[in-house]
Amino acid sequence: MAGNGKSHVKEMALTLAALLILTVITVWAAHVNFGSLAINIVIAVLIATIKVSLVMLFFMHLRWENKLVVAFAILAIPFIILAIGAIIWDTTIRVGVEKVFP
């Protein structure tokens, strides 16, 4: 087993501290207007992504995992980007389609 190795509790405590600080930043950023609605959302999502990366790297041990597990862990990401990206792209550029309802 991978056990009996070095303990990572210290890194994890630091991670928690970072996550809590980032949470405060998220709440603060929500009250600041960065120019447009879309930019505000993108900034919120970016901060969330940093937090998620921290959780995955330290809490979920990806930093210390073998390559194969890391590969499976990030397997979904391109497909998530594909689904979200392509569908938003299409629904926002539909040409020649108007809404009937107000």
Binding site: M1, G3, N4, L20, M60, A76, I77, A83, I84
Partner: protein, 255 residues
Amino acid sequence: MSVATAVKKLHDGSKWGNPPELVYDMSRMGFWLFLATELLLFAVLFTAYAVYYFHDPAGFHASAHELSVGFGAANTIILLVSSFTVAWSIEAIKQGNIRLMNILLAFTIGCGLVFLGNKYFEYSHKMHEVELEAVALAKSPALLKDLKEQGKCFTNTAGQEVCRVIPFNVANIGSGDPLTKPAFASMFFFLYFFLTGVHGLHIVVGVALLSWVLIKGLRGEFHPGWYTPVEVGGLYWHLVDLIWIYLFPLLYLVS
């Protein structure tokens, strides 16, 4: 494996002929694959969120106004802390500290229950009438028309047009016509309830999973040579944390 309890037959996951190291390896791999499917499942809901957000940003902002940032932030902190404790419990068992592992697991389960309690208060608040800006309902013309006919819409002191409406009406579930009697007041509230509902379901499953691990832990089944269930339970718990990290700004902070 020089563990004191070696007199008893040790649990090591080798029931089906595979050595524990291999089981540990395979379980992490398989479980990460499972987490990938979970992420894709939520990705669909986030896609829907994005599509409807761009469709109606004003409505989303007006609706999100009704959510309490305090509750959301509290739940975020609860999940982050519990995520840390469950990660710590794995470190503890790696060092052979069974007692610490059990305490941390129990603490994590407690956090999960507090989270659910918070959600219960939040949900029940949303099942009563609130004053919602009419702009939040603009994309549901059928509903807005109906509310106006019932005289539920008026101009408030701040000069905004608002309607008294129940964001999630339990009484309408499974009955009547979805057009004029929706259970959800706006697309935002539907997404709010659906996203947090599915997430809450995962919390329930996570609490159940960790409780099962804790029972095994109390029975002394884990030792530094075999703690795969703790690891897997922990990974699952982190998943609910991951999802919530996105949910919090998208639902509570868009106003």
